[in-house]
Each structure stands twice: as C-alpha cells, then as structure tokens.
Symmetry: C2
Subunit: 222 residues, 2 copies
DNA sequence: TAGATTGTTAATCGATTAACAATC
DNA sequence: TAGATTGTTAATCGATTAACAATC
C-alpha cells in the first residue's frame, strides 16, 4: 500500500489558499482574453491582482501548466488547464435547497455556470413556491429530494435555508444521498464523516471590513 | 509619536483569521443563549465548532473578555464584548449599489442587522427599478449617490453590480465619498490608496468544494 | 483541596516570500 | 547574446497548536 487515506483533505500538497486564488485568476484571464491578449506572465498577473509573482507561479504549477521563460503562459491554454484542474469542466449537477432570496440569487447568478455547476432543481417547503419556476429551474417540495437525488444521481447540494432549519435540512440531504454540501448558512453543520461540507459565511468578511473601517476612522483621543 | 501609521492593516496583532472566526462564535453563542445556557467554556465552543480550544481562548482574548477558570465565559457578556469589539454596535450605515438578485438577497438578509449594518438606500441604473421599494429600502438612481452620501454622511458601500461595471461603479462610489467597500463582485478593484476594500468572492469556496469532491469520488484506476 | 479551565509563552507547522539556476 | 521569466529549493514569516503556570 503506497497511498495513505486521510480524512477529506486535499490531495498531495495543494493548499486551500491556492485553491481559493485560482478562480480569481480565471476571472482575470477571461477578461484579458476578451481584450485580445494571447500570453500573460506571472509578474503581470501579480501586479494586476496585487499578489506576489512567485505565488502566481507556484499556484499555477499545481495545475500542470507549462509556461515559457520570457513569454509567460498562453492564456487560452491556462484557462482550460485551471478549469480542468478545478473540475469545472465536469458535470457538476447540483440541487439547491432553500429557495429564499439568497437561493434565488444563487439560481440567477450565471457566473456559477463558469464553475461547471448546473443546478438541476431547487427545493423548498413553502407551498407558494412549490411547482413554480424560477428562471428555468423548477422548485419542488423537499419530499421529492430523496427520490430525485437517487434517480438523477445528483450528489452536490447547495444549502440556502434559514439558519434555524439548516441542520435539520442538511441531515435530510445527506440521508437522500447528497455527498457534498455548499453551506451558505452561518450554522456549523454536524454531519456524518465522509460528507464534504464547505462553509461560506459571506458575513465573516463583513467583520473584517467593519473592524478596519472603525480602526481607521474612530481615532480615539489618547 | 508613539504609534506608527501603517497602510490599512488591522491594529496591533489582530489576525484576519481571528476576525473571521468571531462572527461564527457569535452565531453559536446566540443559539445556546436562547437555549438557556449562562456560561460556556472554550473547550465546549471548540468541540461544537470543531476548532482548537486554545485557539478559542486566544481569539477571545483580543476582545478583552475575562473568563473564569473552571467555569468559562458568561455568554451574555461574551456576546456583547465581541459585538463591541467588532464594531457591530456602531451605527454602520451603508449604501447598496446594484439592486440585482444578489443585491436583493443582501437587502433582505436580516442577519446583516446583527452586524449593525443598516442599509439606508439602494442604487441602480435600471429605470424599472428606480423609485421602487424593496422591502423597506428605496432604490434610487446612481445619480443621487454622491449627493446623498454627502448629506447623510454614509461612507460604507456594498457593491453588488454585474462584474462588467464593477470597476466603474466602485470608482464613482469613492468619488462620492465612500471610504469602505464590501465588494461582492469577482472583480479586483483598482481604487485610490486609503479606500478599504473587502473582497468576498462567494465562489472561491466552490472551487474547494468541487476539488475535494472530485478528488474523493473520481478515483482513477492506476 | 483537586481539577478543570483560563491565559500566556514556547514550539510547531504551513504558507508566503526570497534566492537562484535553467531556459527561451 | 542578454535579459526577463519560469520553476524549484531555501529562508522567512505568521498562524496554529502545545506546554504550563495561575486560578477559581
């Protein structure tokens, strides 16, 4: 046996910070590609994104892309390589659970398609929402989740319920066969080991913003 | 002169990771407070949130809270202390710019009030949205932003426009007197030094989720 | 008192940054 | 060729974790 099985860590030496930066590179690369650029160097990306050039090079290395000294990277190739590396070109079919405002925002956020994420169906328990369509996505009752997950083989779930039902809902999702949950609620979910949970508290960042703001502007007289 | 002025870094040794964890503590503390608990210890918080006990203690130390050995922290006091420390009890009046789906989600996300953030007015350029109300928030034309920011003394802005107009819009916000921007677009903004920008790319986290998911489930035959 | 927990200081771990050789 | 840039290895920096004394 040569490979040890760890919990749900990332494979061999790919750091989360690196992974978080890659989508930002994509956004930038697509923009300059549209502008007609063909190649781009790490120092250029770095100065645009206010990062360290070495960091860019290192980050890109993990994707397997090969650059040319003095020239940089081919933009088209780089985009494809990053997308491939991150799995954006895979069929990432997902269910969205909780069709409130945030859920609706996610449903209509076309940028998600750039991640290969394809929201098949949304679920809710509000009778007023059931069987309505949001954009091109139908909203079904939570009851149907288990059956549909099974039949369609969907195993990615996006959790956008109110906080007070988040835990309960997540549990039901897992029971229905969901294996990876993008958790947009501020609740820390307790789920069986083996289920991948990615917490995205939009509001953690607000704390930083406010702190910086007040530290800078509320200068107390000594 | 005893205090050196740095760029827009956080004051004396408060790390961003710590700041990002504090709102999570708040969410948890409020929940157990509602359950009737009076005190809570760092090890308890740690096991609930799957963090290291020492890390909790250290994080809480920065807020100035005092705990009792063997007992822990008084929950009510702890909540107030964290909120005070983060500036959540200040009058954090903000403008929201870009009243699309994501903007609307933010407008209707009541959790934001827990951060002391009070969205005064929303702005857009879509004639169909101008002068309509969303919840209790009026949507005005961007034209009015400068004047209102001045008159109301609002200096926090929430940027939720489409990516392609994000840079332009942010520039206009700064010109109108906005000093801190919560940037919910995936675009890296170029703004004058001194303006605080907090990027929140909801989607950076999706990259991690997908990567973990595919690493775990797409086992390639050797 | 005994023992769990706080709060601080030291050690470890990992990510970022620097240095530098290879190369186009 | 000269020089900018890649790609890798080493050094630094900062955050997390461990150790431990103080204390209720």
């Amino acid at each position: 046996m040569v490979t040890k099985k760890k919990k749900i860590k990332l494979k061999e030496g790919v750091s989360e910070p690196t992974l978080k930066r890659l989508p930002g590179y994509l956004t930038y690369l697509k923009r300059i590609q549209k502008l007609g650029h063909i190649n781009v160097s790490a120092p250029t990306i770095a100065s645009e994104l206010e990062l360290d050039p070495t960091q860019i090079v290192k980050d890109l290395t993990v994707t397997g892309i090969k650059g040319k000294p003095k020239v940089g990277y081919n933009i088209a190739e780089l985009i494809l390589t990053i997308e491939e590396y991150l799995g954006f070109n895979k069929k990432n079919e997902a269910f969205l659970v909780g069709a409130g405002k945030l859920g609706q925002a996610i449903l209509s956020y076309h940028e998600l398609q750039g991640f290969g994420i394809n929201i098949i169906t949304a679920f809710d328990i509000d009778p007023k929402k059931i069987n309505t369509e949001y954009g091109k996505t139908v909203i079904l009752h939570m009851d149907k989740l288990g059956d549909l997950a099974q039949r369609l083989g969907v195993s990615i779930g996006i959790l956008t319920t109110p906080p007070n039902v988040a835990q309960k809902t997540a549990k039901a999702m897992v029971k229905s066969g969901i294996k990876a949950i993008w958790n947009l609620t501020p609740v820390k979910l307790k789920l069986p080991k083996g289920v991948i949970v990615q917490d995205t508290s939009m509001f953690a960042n607000v704390a930083i913003l406010l702190k910086k703001f007040h530290d800078l502007h509320d200068i107390k007289p000594d």
